[in-house]
């Protein structure tokens, strides 16, 4: 028991590691604030593209979505982070992470928004058009708001996954929370920083998990 406390919950070590962890935490927050809006915007664009009449565009979107859904995100990230510099394209760690997340998460958000748009009755679209709104106005003012409301649980669920996924950035040495924890671990020869990082993730994300759990139960119960 004593050994457990000394190795996992060592307050002296935590005190030493705290500044590093805090810096890592803010990097994770910053990363989240960049990749989530990017992913949502990209996903919305993907979903809108899948509603156009042109078969070529729709087909391209399906290929794009399936392609990036089949790739494990870490594979995509490594490919971008290690491969692109060979083409003299250097995005830096943050840029590489942002690009990889944009490609990956926009396919997932895209699928969610597409399902949402399909759930809005066709009559809504026709009624809006008949009042003189253009196709784009109809989408923006009538269809997308209803579509979004219909898929809020899925959007939150995916956002939770995206926030958790930011921990992958540690692999390409972006100093976010997990990277900071591992760095602190190797400086202090003690696992406390890793446990602390886990607790920070838990404290930040647990409310989302609870919220989702409620949504899911209600969703299936209404089935």
């Amino acid at each position: 028991m004593e050994r457990l406390v000394a190795s996992f919950f060592n307050l002296d070590i935590l005190q030493q590691a705290w500044p590093i962890l805090l810096e890592g935490f803010w990097m994770t927050v910053k990363l989240t604030l960049v990749v989530v809006p990017l992913g949502v915007a990209g996903g919305l664009a993907v979903a809108l593209a899948s509603t156009v009449r042109s078969r070529l565009v729709r087909w391209t979107v399906v290929v794009y979505v399936d392609f990036f859904r089949a790739f494990p995100p870490l594979v995509l990230l490594m490919f971008i982070a290690f491969g692109l510099p060979f083409l003299k394209i250097d995005l830096g760690a943050f840029g590489a992470v942002a690009l990889a997340f944009l490609l990956n998460t926009s396919s997932y958000y895209g699928e969610i928004f597409r399902a949402g748009i399909e759930s809005v009755p066709r009559g809504q679209y026709e009624a809006a058009r008949s009042t003189g709104l253009s196709a784009l106005q109809t989408m923006g003012w009538v269809v997308v708001p209803q579509a979004t409301r219909n898929v809020i649980p899925d959007l939150i669920s995916n956002t939770l996954e995206v926030v958790k996924l930011t921990s992958l950035a540690s692999v390409v040495a972006l100093p976010e929370l997990l990277f900071a924890a591992r760095q602190a671990q190797s400086l202090t020869y003690n696992a406390t920083p890793i446990i602390a990082a886990g607790i920070i993730y838990l404290v930040c994300l647990w409310p989302l998990v609870r919220l989702l759990s409620r949504f899911e139960h209600r969703q299936i119960a209404l089935h």
Partner: protein, 224 residues
């Protein structure tokens, strides 16, 4: 420009050289993925069944464990198992650490999905089955679970696919699966072609799975 692109990402010579390694990783990824899916779904189903008994303390513990496993990033769990647990004398191989972490995460998600499915079966089904003389367990086994499992198939399939792709995280703790093989080949040859090869291997493995997921979604349409 085109030549340089080909030479950098599709260098046949380097690809040929490391092809056997990637194939080796391919089979290890399949092995790891199957082990995760079987252990994760079985544990999740078991936990959901235990939860159906509605024993206060037990259910509280299940919910707490599930919440923790859903809130922590899988990579953090793998790193805890592989780098933190040995400091208190619990040692496991990188393969076991990755397998255990992903199986637990899948079990947590599966438990939630199965439990929601059990809740979705109308109360009357329970009452009718019990009144015909079936025991609690018989009711669960022959009446409730068959109905519950059917509606859980689409969300469960999607979640399973997403977590199975997490096998690539094993590369971080040096499990010799596809990504690890590709990455170490890349650092030996200082050429990204092995990464291309690894990416192709993942597509070969997961594109059919993504299509399976799409098919399941339409086949067992889970209407909101």
């Amino acid at each position: 420009m085109f030549e340089r692109l080909a030479d950098t990402f599709f260098n046949w010579q380097i690809m040929g050289q490391y092809f056997p390694k990637i194939v080796e990783g391919f089979f290890l990824t399949i092995e790891l993925a199957l082990a995760v899916v079987v252990a994760g779904i079985a544990t999740g189903l078991l936990l959901a069944i235990v939860r159906a008994f509605r024993i206060g303390v037990v259910n509280f513990l299940i919910v707490a464990a599930v919440d923790v496993l859903r809130a922590l990033p899988p990579l953090v769990i793998i790193i805890m198992f592989y780098f933190a647990l040995p400091t208190v004398g619990v040692r496991m191989s990188a393969f076991v650490a990755t397998w255990l972490a992903l199986a637990l995460v899948l079990a947590a998600f599966a438990e939630e999905i199965f439990w929601a499915g059990i809740l979705a079966v109308p109360r009357g089904q329970w009452e009718a089955a019990r009144s015909t003389g079936l025991s609690f367990l018989q009711t669960l086994r022959f009446v409730v679970l068959p109905q519950a499992v059917r509606i859980t198939i689409p969300p469960l399939t999607n979640r399973t696919i997403a977590i199975t792709k997490g096998t690539a995280l094993g590369a971080v703790v040096a499990v010799g699966e596809i990504l690890y093989q590709a990455q170490s080949a890349y650092s030996f040859s200082y050429n990204p072609s092995p990464l291309t090869l690894g990416a192709i291997a993942y597509l070969v493995l997961f594109l059919p799975v993504v299509y399976l997921g799409r098919w399941v979604e339409t086949r067992f349409a889970w209407k909101r």
